[in-house]
């Protein structure tokens, strides 16, 4: 592997606004008296709920078990009583199933897992089982169950493990602080993941705008086989396919997965969750989330338990000094707009972002002026302008022909479009329609 990172095609350079929260150390969010844990926190099948109203649960107790291979179990964020298994406001705007737990204040661990302190000599299959049992999912945003990525099908040779510490989304600093403050855990997590895959080494990719994190990781990784690689600053550097290209020069084929080119990519926060699961025996019940945005009094990074409502997170950040106009879960490029403060923190909630009114435009989109900006910035090399016109005319056959399925929904095209066309939403629609049509067949 060459050490010089390449630059992937396209990309944009939005104002990153990370200074708002980058200097704020991770704080543990105080124990609340109520948590509403959303059941379906992973891509794939929703887990099967095991508890019912009135059950007493200990911290880390299994709330729901995986219901298939591509699924992840869910554990109790604290000890207490299950007060309801009902619906709550979900991050996509729809109401979703959730388990409500009233904390007893003891915060007492049950006994879910035996720590595997001697992981260097442990069986790879046992380690993988632990990752699966602990419910670790991709914490970068997608929520893809980690153990699935660690189980390449026969015939797919994996030779590279990449840890994704790019954190290219503007505003977000959760991974940055994590790499800075828990560098050791990241490195150990990487080593465990490498052991599961039967690899000797791993590489951690970090954007060059976080020199302190790179420094910390390099120090922690000094005597290990884990290397740290600075990456050029370019959105979406943290997208899987772009990251693989930057570090290895390999291009994931259209419709393919990283494992098709011998790579496995895991988020650094997931690596820490793996470390916690194996070394400490803790299931994935908390995550570090950036609560940020200009309207907040004290933006910063907190370690939240799953099920913490957004309203509480905003309270912790000192509340607002001006009325925000928009609330996003995730970053400004790929995040989802929310309309309820009752949505709770999930395993993939990397950020809670408030945007003031002057930065939110109530626009109407204009016709495409064929400037080609979207084409030159698209990191996947597809034609956003043409595809969006096809979608507007409901020509999904044409959109499929133009490879809309290769779109990674990074939002770069929508960001640069001078006509403010809702390109990204068009592609979401096209992908959904094409997948539905294929399923029908």
């Amino acid at each position: 592997m060459s050490n010089k990172p390449r630059k992937f095609r396209g990309g944009v350079h939005p104002n990153d606004s990370k200074a708002l929260s980058a200097a704020s150390p991770i704080q543990d969010a105080p124990l609340l008296d109520k948590y509403t844990v959303i059941v379906h926190q992973n891509i794939g099948a929703p887990p099967e709920v095991l508890v019912k109203k009135g059950d007493e649960v200990k911290k880390g107790a299994l709330l729901a078990k995986a219901s298939g291979f591509v699924s992840a179990p869910l554990h109790a964020p604290t000890s207490g009583t299950v007060t309801a298994v009902d619906k709550c406001d979900g991050p996509t705007g729809l109401r979703v199933a959730a388990i409500e737990i009233r904390a007893d204040g003891e915060d007492e661990w049950g006994s879910p897992f035996e720590p595997i302190t001697d992981w260097q000599n442990a069986d790879a299959a046992d380690l993988k089982q632990r990752v699966s049992d602990a419910g670790v999912v991709g914490m970068g945003g997608a929520g893809f169950p980690s153990h699935v990525k660690l189980s390449p099908p026969a015939g797919k040779e994996i030779d590279t493990l990449i840890l994704n510490g790019a954190e290219c989304e503007p505003y977000l600093t959760a991974d940055h602080r994590l790499m800075l403050e828990q560098a050791e855990d990241v490195v150990v997590g990487a080593a465990i993941l490498a052991r599961i895959l039967g690899l000797k080494s791993a590489v951690i990719g970090v954007e060059n705008n976080k020199p302190d994190a790179i420094e910390a990781l390099k120090k922690a990784a000094a005597k290990t086989n884990v290397t740290v690689q600075g990456l050029p600053v370019n959105y979406p550097q943290g997208a899987e396919k772009q990251l693989i290209y930057t570090l290895t020069g390999r291009e994931v084929p259209i419709g393919g997965l990283p494992m098709d080119v011998g790579c496995v990519v895991q988020n650094v926060a997931s690596a820490v969750a793996v470390n916690d699961a194996v070394v400490k025996g803790h299931p994935s019940i908390e995550r570090i989330t950036t609560v940020t945005g200009e309207p907040l009094v004290n933006p910063g990074n907190w370690r939240f338990r799953l099920g913490t409502p957004i309203s509480k997170a905003i309270e912790l950040a000192g509340g607002v000094k001006v009325q925000p106009a928009k609330l996003l879960l995730g970053g400004p490029m790929m995040g989802f707009a929310q309309n309820s403060l009752d949505v709770t923190v999930m395993k993939n909630t990397s950020g809670i972002l408030l945007i003031p009114a002057e930065q939110v435009s109530q626009y109407t989109s204009d016709p495409c002026i064929r400037c080609g900006k979207c084409v030159s910035c698209c990191p996947m090399g597809i034609l956003p302008a043409t595809i969006s016109q096809a979608v507007e005319n409901e020509r999904f056959d044409l959109a499929a022909q133009l490879n809309v399925l290769a779109c990674i929904e990074c939002g770069s095209c929508s960001y640069v479009c001078p006509s403010r066309r809702p390109l990204n939403q068009h592609f979401k629609r096209a992908k959904a329609e094409i997948m539905a049509a294929r399923k029908k067949k």
């Binding site: 619906k87 996509t92 705007g93 729809l94 109401r95 989802f336 707009a337 929310q338 309309n339 109530q362 626009y363 809702p422 939403q425 068009h426 979401k428 629609r429 959904a432 329609e433």
Partner: protein, 276 residues
């Protein structure tokens, strides 16, 4: 005179030769086609709406001639037209009950607003990002995907709510397929009483997001003539289309949220602004 004769002779000769070539070719490359298909196609409405399940009227005509589909599968054709096709084919056709579409939601923007929506004005696009501007997860999004799909202009968007005009609707079912919320059902045209709500949530939860939701109070069930005219499913009540209530039920029941409506009156806008 000679010139005329020679001309005629030459023209006749040329014609004969060409006719021979074409005749041979027509014999050699003959395609068997049933002339009845074309006749039946002409008898059909020609809307090419696909309501019969075939790709256009010509395809349906082919199915009729082949005996695969009965003529009354066409939801658009009038009863007389169907009988005409059946007579031509020498088969008897039962008259099919006419159906119309009903959008099972009564929540206009003014009844159930949640937050501003700024994106593609299309229901199927809106459900992918936060689900549009309205508060109810189950209700009409109001971006007219169904109205655009309707080949007969029978759906009107009024106050961000899709309203079917029963007199224009032929029941082809195109709108049923495009609604991302599965709100639209085909109901017997003879039935006028419908519950314009599709949310299975608890009454209080529904009431919080929508003024015109069915809260499951069962007033209509009690007011109906016989027990099973209105069906209760959890917190939602629906018309029993196998044993439908009479139109006067709406007045008798005095639905507190006006979710119980007459389709004809609903289309005429009689319930606008009456919700409390």
């Amino acid at each position: 005179m000679t010139i005329i004769l020679v001309s005629l002779l030459f023209a006749a000769l040329l014609g004969a030769i060409l006719a021979l070539i074409i005749g041979v070719a027509a014999k050699a490359f003959a395609v068997e086609s049933d002339p009845r298909i074309e006749t039946v196609t002409d008898m059909l409405p020609g809307a090419n709406c696909g309501g019969c399940g075939y790709a256009g009227c010509a395809d349906f005509a082919k199915a009729i001639v082949e005996g695969v589909a009965p003529p009354n599968d066409c939801p658009v054709a009038s009863a007389e037209a169907t009988v005409r096709v059946a007579d031509y084919m020498g088969i008897t056709s039962e008259e099919k009950e006419k159906v119309v579409a009903v959008v099972r939601c009564s929540g206009g923007i003014s009844d159930t607003v949640r937050s501003p929506y700024n994106g593609v004005e299309d229901c199927r696009s809106a459900v992918l990002v936060a689900g549009g501007a309205k508060g109810c997860d189950y209700g009409c999004i109001g971006f007219a995907s169904c109205a655009r799909a309707c080949p007969f202009d029978a759906i009107e968007i009024r106050d961000g709510l899709a309203v079917v005009h029963p007199d224009l609707c032929v029941g082809c079912g195109k709108c049923v397929d495009v609604c991302p919320k599965d709100l639209i059902i085909l109901t017997p045209a003879a039935v006028d009483v419908h519950v314009y709500c599709n949310s299975p949530e608890k009454g209080a939860a529904k009431r919080k997001v929508c003024k015109t939701a069915c809260i499951g109070c069962r007033k209509c069930v009690k007011a109906s003539d016989s027990e099973d005219q209105m069906l209760i499913d959890g917190f939602l009540i629906a018309t029993n289309y196998n044993n439908p209530p009479l139109p006067d039920l709406v007045e008798k029941a005095a639905c507190p949220t006006t979710a119980l409506r007459l389709a004809t009156q609903h289309a005429a806008g009689a319930y606008e602004g009456v919700s409390k």
